[in-house]
Amino acid sequence: MPLIRASKGKIMQKKLYIVPIFLTFFSVAVILISLQLDISPEMIVGDSMQARTFPIFLMAVNLILIAVLSLQFYKNYPKRIELEHFPTWFSMFLFLLFYFLTVTTDMFIGITVCMFLMGYTWGEKRLWVNACNAIATPGLIFILFDYVLRIRFPRGLLTNLYYG
C-alpha cells in the first residue's frame, strides 16, 4: 500500500537504486568472503600481497565507483527500462531446459529441443522449417567437430549409440 500512495517519482526512485544496491551487496559479499581466505606464511609472501588483499582492494574501489554511480542516478534519472517480452524470458527458460535435458538425456537432444522451441517462440511457425533447422544444425556441427576437430562429446542417449 505505501508504494501505491507514494508519488510516481518516488516509486521510480526506489527502482532506480536496485542496481547500486545489488552491486553494493555483491561487493560487500566478496569482501567478506575474501576475509575468510587463508593467510600465507611470511616466508612465502614476503613483501608482496596476501591472496585476499587484491580482491578486497578491487571491491573497495568498486564501492567508491558505486557511490559515484548512485550520485549520477540521483542527479539524472536514467532512461526507463522496458520489461522483457515473452521470447526473452522463454529463451532464458530454455537454457534451464537445456541444462536439464543435457544432464538427464543427451546434449544433442537438449540442443535440438531448445532450437526447435526457440525458433517457434521467436516467430517461425512452420514446424517443418523449425524441425529441419533443429535437426540439421546440431547434426552438421557434430560431424564437423567429431571428424575434423576430433572432439569427443559427453555421453548420453544419442552419443552412446554412436560411440558404442
Binding site: I111, W122, A134, F153
Partner: protein, 493 residues
C-alpha cells in the same frame, strides 16, 4: 626486414592459407551483414573451430573475421539502415540517405574503397609500429607493465556503450573474475566454493561466448517482430574521379584517426568511426550535405573503422593489452595457440607475426573484391529470419563453449555469463569492459606482486620509475581529464 618481407610474401604463395582467408572473408562478410552478429560475436563463435589449426592459420582466421565483418557492417547500414556492426553506426547517417536517393551502388562503392584504404593503411602502420613498440616494451619490467595495465583499464572508461563509471565497474568486475581459482604465488583457493574445475581459473573462451554471443541472443529476442526493408541495388559502382577528388583528404585523415584510436588500449572501431565522421564533417566544405547523403561522411566513417582494426592489433600483440572486444578474443586465440603476446613475440616468433600481418593485408584486399562484386548477394543474407539464425547461434555457442576443454562446466559458465551479460547490457553496462578486465586482471595482480617484491613492499617506488609514472599519469588523465576540463571551462564561463 628481409624476414618480414619474406614472411608476408609467403602468405601470398600459400594456397591453403589463401583458400582459408578467402573462405573466412566470405564468412566474415556474412557475419558482418547479419544484424546483431558482429565481429566480436563471430570471432567468439569461431574460436573453437580454430583449435586444431596451426597458430598462424588460426590467428589469420580470427583477424580476417575482424576486418571483413567490420567492413561488412556498412552493407546493411547503407541498404537497410541497420548497422551490421556497431562500428558501422556512423555509416547509416549518410549511407542510407544516399541509398534512398537511388545511389546505393555509389554509396557502397565509396564504403568499399574507403574501408580497403583504411585497412591497408593500418596494416602498414602495424608492420612499422609494432616492432618499434616491441623494442621499447622489451625494456619493460613489472612496475612498467603494472602501470601500463592500469592505463589500459583506465581507458575502459570510454570503451563502447555505457557511461565511464559503469564501464569501470564492469572492468573491475572482470578483473575480479580473474582472481577466481588458485592464487599464483601462494596457491590459496579463491572463490572456487569447492569446485576444483575452477582451480586454474575461469576459462576465457566460455566466458567470452557467454558475454558476446549468448547475451546478444537474448538482446535480439526483443526484436522478433522487427520488419526490415531492403533498398534495391543494381550494381556497386567504384567512385568516379570527381568522387575521389572530394574524398581523398577525408580518407587520409580518417586513416590517421582510426589507426591512432585503434592503437590506444581499449579503444575500438566504433569510437574511431564516430570521430572519423565528425572530423569529416568539421573539415568539409559541404557541411549542409551531411545527414542527407554526403559521400565524405561515408568515407570518413568507413576509412576510420577499418583503420582501427590494424591499430588495435598493435597493443594486442606487442603489450598483450586488447584494443577492443574482438582483439580480446584474438588475444585469447594467441594464448591458446602458444603465442604469448608481448615483446618476445617479435624476437622469437617474428616470422609468424609477419605472416599474421600478411594475412590481414590479404583479407583487406579480398573483402574489397567481395564488396564490389557480391554486395548485392550479401545484402540478401541480412534478411534471413532471426527465428532461424539465432537458434543456430545458440547451438554453435554451447558446442563451441564445450569444445576447448571438453567440459560441460564450460557450457554452464557460458550460459550463466550470457544471462549475466544480458542483464548488464539491459542496465547500460557494456560487456566488453568485463572481457578486457578478465584478460588484464592476471597481468595487473602478477605485476603488482612482482613490483612489491622488487621494492621490498614499498609500493610508492613504482611511482619513482619514469615510464611507470608516465603511464599512471596518462591513466589519471584518462579518468579525470574530462572532469577537470569541464570544471575549468565552467569556471571560465
Amino acid at each position: 626486414m628481409e624476414v618480414a618481407i619474406s614472411a608476408m610474401a609467403s602468405v601470398f604463395m600459400d594456397p591453403y592459407l589463401i583458400g582459408l582467408i578467402f573462405a573466412t572473408t566470405i564468412l566474415g562478410v556474412i557475419i558482418g551483414v547479419l544484424p546483431g552478429l558482429g565481429a566480436t560475436t563471430g570471432a567468439a563463435l569461431l574460436l573453437p573451430f580454430t583449435l586444431t589449426m596451426e597458430p598462424v592459420q588460426a590467428i589469420a582466421v580470427l583477424s580476417t573475421i575482424y576486418v571483413s565483418a567490420t567492413f561488412a557492417g556498412s552493407i546493411t547500414a547503407i541498404l537497410i539502415n541497420t548497422p551490421g556492426t556497431s562500428a558501422s553506426a556512423a555509416t547509416t547517417f549518410d549511407g542510407y540517405p544516399l541509398a534512398k536517393k537511388g545511389e546505393a551502388g555509389r554509396a557502397l562503392g565509396i564504403a568499399v574503397v574507403s574501408s580497403t584504404v583504411g585497412g591497408v593503411f593500418s596494416v602498414i602502420v602495424l608492420c612499422i609500429a609494432a616492432p618499434l613498440l616491441a623494442r621499447v616494451a622489451y625494456e619493460f619490467r613489472p612496475p612498467e607493465y603494472f602501470a601500463l595495465t592500469i592505463f589500459g583499464l583506465s581507458m575502459l572508461a570510454s570503451i563502447s556503450a555505457g557511461g565511464a563509471v559503469k564501464n569501470l565497474i564492469g572492468g573491475i568486475f572482470g578483473v575480479w573474475l580473474s582472481t577466481i581459482g588458485a592464487e599464483r604465488v601462494t596457491a590459496i583457493e579463491r572463490f572456487m566454493f569447492g569446485n576444483y574445475n575452477l582451480y586454474e581459473g575461469l576459462s576465457f573462451v566460455p566466458v567470452f561466448i557467454g558475454l558476446f554471443a549468448i547475451s546478444e541472443l537474448l538482446v535480439q529476442s526483443k526484436t522478433v517482430n522487427k520488419v526490415m526493408e531492403i533498398i534495391a541495388l543494381k550494381a556497386v559502382k567504384l567512385p568516379s574521379k570527381e568522387d575521389y577528388k572530394r574524398i581523398w583528404k577525408t580518407i587520409l585523415r580518417s586513416c590517421g584517426i582510426g589507426t591512432f584510436i585503434g592503437i590506444l588500449p581499449a579503444e575500438g572501431a566504433t569510437i574511431a568511426s564516430m570521430i572519423g565522421y565528425s572530423e569529416a564533417k568539421r573539415w568539409s566544405k559541404n557541411k549542409e550535405e551531411f545527414g542527407k547523403g554526403s559521400i565524405e561522411g561515408i568515407a570518413g566513417a568507413e576509412a576510420a573503422n577499418n583503420a582501427a582494426t590494424g591499430g588495435a592489433m598493435v597493443p594486442t600483440m606487442v603489450l598483450g593489452i586488447p584494443g577492443s572486444g574482438t582483439t580480446a578474443i584474438i588475444l585469447v586465440g594467441l594464448m591458446v595457440h602458444g603465442l604469448r603476446p608481448g615483446a618476445y613475440l617479435f624476437t622469437e616468433q617474428v616470422e609468424k607475426v609477419y605472416q599474421i600481418f600478411g594475412s590481414m593485408l590479404m583479407a583487406n584486399l579480398m573483402f574489397m573484391a567481395m564488396g564490389l562484386y557480391a554486395a548485392k548477394l550479401f545484402a540478401r543474407i541480412s534478411l534471413v529470419p532471426i527465428s532461424i539464425l539465432w537458434p543456430i547461434v545458440f547451438a554453435l555457442s554451447v558446442i563451441g563453449a564445450y569444445a576447448l576443454q571438453q567440459s560441460l562446466l564450460d557450457v554452464w559458465i557460458a550460459l550463466i555469463f550470457g544471462v549475466l551479460g544480458y542483464f548488464a547490457r539491459r542496465h547500460g553496462f557494456a560487456v566488453a569492459p568485463i572481457a578486457v578486465g578478465l584478460i588484464l586482471g592476471e597481468m595487473v595482480e602478477t605485476n603488482l606482486q612482482h613490483s612489491l617484491k622488487m621494492y621490498d613492499g614499498a609500493w610508492w617506488m613504482i611511482l619513482a620509475q619514469p615510464l611507470a609514472a608516465f603511464f599512471l599519469f596518462l591513466a589519471f588523465l584518462g579518468l579525470c581529464g574530462p572532469y577537470i576540463y569541464k570544471l575549468i571551462t565552467t569556471q571560465k564561463s
